[in-house]
């Protein structure tokens, strides 16, 4: 019995030792890389925002002026961060990230930029799991389909034409993949509607405090 006890403690002690060493290694690495990782994520976000909003639309620090909203019915995601663009203090644009569309093989996460006049700055796909070669043409690097949203609004085309062509609307579908563009068009339309209905409160709301990007 005594022998068993001591061997349990020795084994546990060794495991603890290695646990501490492993945790130490991870902690040191985490310390060393945290700043760079945060910087990377910030840069990636800024690059995305720059693609969907021209630099002169807003002249505040969008990343520091955010509000988190929850409107799963319209924006798809449980929580969506809204980056509020202001020009000389006046609300000029809102960037929604992420809006989720129900894709063919899972949620398609979008970043959507809306200007104060209700027109789209642009739409980009953040992540998706659509079929390679078919549904993945929503990616900017695969086709220019997603650029077709630039400058569109709920009056251009009229709200009833916010569908893919197969459903009698204005937007192209892809050969072999209708579900994907249909979902994206619907999500973008709903985002525009959300922005129109809530524009005032979005910009009046108190911003999030700690913003880590």
């Amino acid at each position: 019995m005594r022998h068993l006890n001591s061997s349990i403690f020795i084994a546990a002690g060794l495991l603890t030792g290695f646990g501490i060493a492993g945790a130490g290694l991870v902690a040191v690495t985490q310390q060393g890389t945290a700043e760079r990782i945060a910087q990377n994520e910030r840069e990636a976000l800024l690059a995305n925002i720059a693609k969907i909003l021209p630099a002169d639309v807003a002249n505040n620090d969008l990343l520091a002026d955010t509000v988190t909203v929850s409107a799963p019915q319209q924006l798809g995601a449980r929580q969506t961060t809204v980056y509020r663009g202001r020009r000389d203090g006046e609300p000029s644009a809102a960037v929604f990230s992420a809006v989720e569309a129900g894709g063919y093989a899972g949620p398609i996460r979008l970043i959507v930029g809306v200007r104060a006049d209700g027109t789209l700055g642009g739409v980009r796909v953040l992540s998706h799991r659509e079929t390679p070669g078919l549904g993945d043409r929503i990616e900017e690097s695969r086709s220019d389909w997603v650029a077709g949203f630039d400058g569109k609004s709920l009056t251009n085309p009229p709200a009833e034409d916010w569908k893919v062509k197969r459903d009698g609307g204005e937007f192209d579908q892809f050969t072999g993949a209708t579900v994907t563009p249909r979902a994206v068009v619907k999500a973008v339309k709903q985002t525009l509607e959300y922005a129109r209905e809530h524009w005032g409160e979005l910009f009046a709301a108190n911003g999030d405090t700690a913003q880590t990007g």
Binding site: S7, I10, A11, L14, L15, F18, G19, A21, G22, A23, L25, V26, T29, Q30, T33, R36, I37, N40, E41, A44, T131, P132, G133, L134
Partner: protein
């Protein structure tokens, strides 16, 4: 002594290739081999983890009691994978985003625990280090070959996205067959991975057979003239 290292390299890269012979680590092999660059990225990350874990396991092999060696090895491997994951997130952010879940999943790549258990825990530090490198590079090789083939057939490109790994200067590395190549979608999809791996294993067996054949059939050797005169 030098002979021993030659054997380690030969085993790791070819004779006991973890992907093609041992058939270990298939989950990342099949999932991430859709392009050459993805394969290379995950292969090198795996190699780094293998090298570090093999070295550590070899160093602590006298310290660890046999009954707790598996939990300790898992702990060592998991710590290194987490560290490598953080480092990739910091320095190869774009590639990190593409490889996604498969970097933390290196923990579960059975060839890493397999080498720790079967080799590193029984051999000296230098040998364990070389073994880690050899096994890792063999795995990387299989990933890159499978990735290149699938990318070429499915998408008509090679080294697409090389800049994610080597910086903007490497953009020129990417080759493309042009728009004329329609691309066979199957190759990019998961079944393409299985089919491709099957052909790869078959090809390795054919080569092995060819290599051992000339000794048995003398006339062939004379005809092809690939063997130098003795």
């Amino acid at each position: 002594m030098a002979d021993g290292y030659r054997k380690i390299w030969l085993d790791g890269l070819w004779r006991n290739n973890q992907a093609l012979v041992a058939l270990l680590g298939l989950c990342p092999l099949l999932a991430v081999s859709n392009t050459a660059v993805n394969g290379l990225g995950l292969g090198l990350a795996t190699t780094l983890v293998l090298f570090l874990s093999n070295s550590t396991v070899s160093m602590i092999r006298h310290l660890v009691k046999p009954e707790i060696r598996v939990p300790v090895f898992v702990l060592v491997i998991a710590s290194f994978v987490t560290a490598v994951e953080l480092a990739m997130n910091a320095w190869f952010h774009e590639l990190y985003k593409i490889l996604g879940i498969f970097i933390p999943l290196i923990v579960t790549n059975c060839s890493i625990l397999g080498r720790a258990e079967a080799y590193a825990s029984r051999n000296t530090l230098p040998r364990a280090m070389v073994d880690g490198l050899a096994i890792g590079l063999g795995f990387t090789g299989a990933l890159v070959v499978l990735g290149s083939t699938r990318e070429l057939i499915g998408q008509g490109t090679l080294f697409d996205g090389a800049h994610l790994m080597f910086g903007e200067a490497a953009r020129g590395l990417s080759l493309s067959l042009g728009d004329a190549w329609p691309g066979i979608l199957l190759a990019i999809l998961p079944p393409g991975a299985f089919i491709g791996l099957g052909f790869l294993i078959a090809a390795k067996n054919v080569i092995d057979k060819r290599l051992s054949a000339p000794r048995a059939v003398a006339p062939v050797e004379a005809e092809t003239g690939t063997q130098p005169a003795r």
